[in-house]
């Protein structure tokens, strides 16, 4: 995985349902950086992540990876990004390995087995996802994230449903990703340990 140089966000604004959620969100991150987004429920943390991922267009503002702007070349902008939302995007009928392999294959990722070791789900590799507990499903989704080999991770409350041991594994996986030159942007409520992470606190715009 090559290091990602210069992720830059300029004066983003988001409107949902006619209400301005936030305006003027700007930050810049470099290889190895992490950003922790916090704020009250409903302040627009998930919306911000969805804008960063390219799923939703911002009301205003710009996104850059290096010199690539999300407006000019959305496919090139999306290429190094992996997004993990609230939903795990796992197919109940397929095995854990098949689920991970499919997305890794589409993304050109080569480390499915490594990823399953990192999240300790190797023993579940051939189990259909419908038989897994919610924590195990979350671990499989996190393993997929790692297997895809994307440089910029966008994580929306990644540790939901994880036990203490798995949370440690997640912290270790994120640390490893940053050592390899990756960037992590996460929404979390204090249960994610990212040393030297920058903070972005979204304030209530409605008040």
């Amino acid at each position: 995985m090559s290091a990602l140089q210069g992720y830059k966000v300029q004066s983003l604004a988001c409107r949902r349902g006619g209400r301005m959620l936030f305006t003027g969100v700007s930050f810049a991150l470099d290889a190895g950086d992490a950003l922790l987004i916090s704020g009250r429920n409903g302040v627009g943390k998930t919306s911000l992540l969805r804008i960063l991922s390219g799923l939703v267009r911002p009301e205003d503002g710009q996104l850059f990876i290096g010199n690539t702007s999300a407006d000019d070349d959305p496919e090139a902008y999306r290429a190094p990004i992996a997004y993990l939302g609230h939903r795990n995007a796992l197919k109940p009928a397929l095995s854990v390995r098949d689920n991970i392999q499919f997305w890794a294959g589409l993304r050109g990722g080569m480390r499915t087995e490594d990823a399953m070791i990192a999240m300790n789900i190797t023993h579940l590799a051939d189990t259909p996802v419908r038989l897994l507990s919610s924590g195990q499903k979350r671990r499989s989704a996190l393993a997929r994230l790692y297997a895809c080999g994307a440089q910029l991770w966008l994580l929306d409350e990644p540790s939901t449903g994880l036990d203490a041991a798995s949370r440690k594994r997640l912290d270790a996986m994120i640390a490893r990703h940053r050592e390899e030159g990756g960037i992590v942007i996460a929404v979390a409520h204090g249960d994610l340990i990212m040393p030297d992470a920058k903070d972005l606190r979204l304030e209530d715009n409605a008040l």
Binding site: G54, L55, R78, Y83, R87, N88, A89, K91, F102, L106
Partner: protein, 221 residues
């Protein structure tokens, strides 16, 4: 390009694993058709005359039945988000979905149609025309159907709205599809109708997926 084919392969293997999607359309198709001899009576001449139309209408409804499952499960479990985020134009994803839908839902009908047509006493020279008409017309059913499925994604009671939205758009395909079979009986020749069917399918396959992609983007907002 390999990403495109692996998307198609994934849909096919999911349909195969679930089984029901494949069997549902085909099963409905055969059961619906077998109701007609029960309601119209066993008169072979009557059945032979209506067979073309009966098979086309049943094919329409069978395809209809599968549309909710094209994007529905992917939307619910978050896979659609991930598909939207691939470094691949969303139109290509929609095209892959459309092709996979055609293979899963329509192709079995095309293959089964000659058998049921013979059972309904459709004259043998028309059975071939019917099969060709279905082969040329069903891609349009899939392309328009997937567009409708994308437009009604996340809407409550999407099944009903989907039918109201899509069935009128299926009408030209029905007219020319059944018309091709009819035309080969009265000697006017089926060629014209078949060409129009092919044209409709080509247009639907080219224009459908980009519009489907826009509809999917809206559903993501």
């Amino acid at each position: 390009m390999s990403a495109f084919f692996s998307l198609i392969r994934r849909d096919l293997s999911l349909a195969w694993k679930h089984g029901n999607a494949l069997l549902m359309a085909l099963g409905f198709f055969i059961i619906a058709i077998s109701l007609f001899p029960l309601s119209l009576g066993p008169d072979r001449e009557t059945l032979g005359r209506v067979a073309g139309g009966v098979i086309w209408v049943s094919a329409l409804f069978s395809v209809m039945l599968t549309l909710e499952r094209v994007f529905g499960p992917d939307h619910e479990d978050g896979s659609l988000e991930q598909l939207t985020l691939l470094p691949l134009p969303l139109g290509m994803v929609a095209l892959a979905k459309t092709i996979a839908h055609w293979i899963i839902a329509s192709l079995p009908l095309v293959l089964a149609a000659p058998l049921v047509a013979v059972a309904l006493n459709l004259p043998l020279n028309q059975v071939g025309i019917l099969a060709i008409a279905l082969l040329l017309g069903t891609p349009a059913l899939s392309a328009i159907g997937c567009l409708g499925a994308a437009l009604t994604l996340g809407v409550r009671q999407s099944g009903v709205i989907l039918s109201l939205l899509i069935l009128p758009l299926f009408v030209p395909i029905l007219i020319f599809g059944a018309g091709a079979v009819e035309a080969s009986t009265n000697g006017t020749g089926a060629q014209g109708a078949l060409q129009i069917l092919g044209a409709i399918s080509l247009i639907a396959i080219v224009l459908g997926p980009p519009v489907t992609a826009s509809a999917l983007r809206l559903a993501m907002e």
